[in-house]
Symmetry: C2
């Protein structure tokens, strides 16, 4: 049975649902980065979103889409971090319980944030299998509703609202680039842009060390990775079947980048822009720097996915 993909107006609906609950994050520019890249980069700063990540958009849209009966039993998810914090806070803001399955090796700062938002945490092995098995048990016990970190339409459309705001703030873009891990941000962005601004190219950056989206996109068949090892901890997940479908239909290209490129791009943003971005957020900038000819003299929107970094363990 073919999957029916959401449209640009589904993202508009999500925006109307969540807009009073989320920060309208600023769009920043940096002359020295523009000089270095040879293009104009417009940074949509979702690191300055609540919980420090775009994930708060999707989580909020998912919680606000629940029935009263579902709200009474709570929400549950597995996440390496940002989605966990996002769902925990989105749930608390609506008086809903949150049950979170986290891999043991998640960054301390993310564990602390989830705990601080009052969620109930269950730790598991850092594999997709362990996370899914543990989550199934939690859901069976509690009756909570799964809010998937990316493979769910309410979540995907919620993430797409960052691109919607970006186009309001900076309408004249030639392309928009995001990182891709599970694909929620990328497919939400593609859903909105291909629906509303089809002339804008939708691109993604992905770590070479976790290049499942790149391989899936290039080969046309779903290609999960197992235990990828990249400093971009938010991008260690594989695509889901829904995000894969959207990406195959609506994304123009995906670029992979090495670990050093990610580290250098991250430090560049910290030093030049004075904003804290996590390694995952440096991946699209690394892709621009490594592929200057593709972006030359164009206007590129870059969605900065998050800023949750353990300050005691910086990668540079």
């Amino acid at each position: 049975m073919p999957v029916i993909l959401p449209s640009g107006s589904d993202v508009v609906d999500a925006y109307n649902t969540i807009k009073n609950y989320v920060h309208q994050t600023p769009v920043l520019t940096c002359q020295s980065i523009n000089r270095l890249t040879g293009c104009e980069v417009y940074f949509k700063c979702e690191n300055l979103q609540k919980v420090g990540a775009f994930k708060y958009r999707g989580a909020t849209n998912a919680v606000l889409s629940l029935t009263k009966e579902q709200m009474a039993k709570g929400v549950a998810t597995h996440s390496s971090g940002n989605h966990a914090a996002a769902l925990a806070l989105a749930a608390r803001m609506n008086g809903v319980k949150a049950f979170i399955v986290m891999p043991e090796n998640a960054p301390e700062i993310k564990k602390k944030a989830v705990d601080g938002y009052g969620a109930e945490i269950t730790y598991c092995q850092p594999t997709l299998e362990a996370r899914e098995a543990t989550l199934a048990t939690v859901i069976e016990t509690t009756g909570a509703t799964l809010v998937h970190p990316y493979n769910q339409w309410e979540v995907i459309c919620g993430q797409g609202t960052a691109a919607l705001e970006l186009m309001q703030q900076q309408p004249h873009l030639d392309s928009v680039i995001t990182p891709v891990g599970g694909g929620g941000l990328l497919s939400g962005t593609a859903t909105y842009l291909k629906g509303m601004f089809p002339q804008v190219k939708v691109l993604a950056g992905e770590p070479q060390m976790a290049d499942d989206a790149y391989r899936s996109f290039k080969s046309g068949s779903f290609y999960p990775v197992v235990n990828p090892d990249t400093i971009a901890d938010g991008l260690r997940t594989s695509l889901g079947n829904l995000t894969f479908e959207v990406i195959m239909h609506k994304v123009d290209d995906i670029y992979t980048v090495g670990e050093d490129s990610i580290r250098n791009a991250m430090r560049l943003v910290w030093e030049r822009m004075k904003i804290i971005i996590e390694p995952s957020s440096a991946v699209p900038l690394a892709a621009i720097i490594d592929n200057k000819q593709v972006f030359a003299n164009s206007r590129v929107g870059l969605i900065v996915s998050g800023g949750n970094v353990d300050l005691d363990h910086l990668p540079f």
Copy 2:
């Protein structure tokens, strides 16, 4: 002879001069910091200004106020860092030469920035006397016009434009707090607010280890400090006679804070707000946290002065 102080409309004039040259920086809020402080804090993010500091406003206003003859000979200054970078860039943007005297112990990142903007740097001992003597020699040799880091009306009025923008972005404030070092930002802020919004209290935070402004303000007589030792490297300077006059007439109160309070407030902002602020910028937040009863339930504008930090030498 009594000094004639500038008025709120002088700051409006400065704003009209520089507004197309500076970033309109965002105003950010943070729920968890509001919860911690017991008030609403609106962060005017001049760390996201060009060169990473409000100083770009005053320097730009000073350069644009020069005659053609003065522009031909260049500008000169002494500065522990941010003003140096600001003047170097403001000069370069207008094809003007910049001669900068810097103390040898200025942070590496600030030295590199000034050098990167094409200024000619002369290093000196880290005392006010050495800086002034070296600068006098440079000016005698080059014929360049002095642009003082703070004790000059064009500079003071330029710095006041951050408060002007803040009031446009968030008109309902009970008070505005800034750090105070040489007093340029504080006196510019006070000049604008007492002229245009006299009901808004104008406050400052200062390191206990460099409390010359506090002592001068409380005693009513100018009180310089010598070689103050604080991590807030931007606040090691003493007031000038002009900033002292404005502060005595137009500032409501000054609070001093200890080094640990500064360090904790700085880390809090990094972790919670995902923006990079330098130690000096953490001083006003430290003052709020240490004096919660003063700010309880009020709306406080906080001018974040800068984000220039040596990432290899963080104070936490």
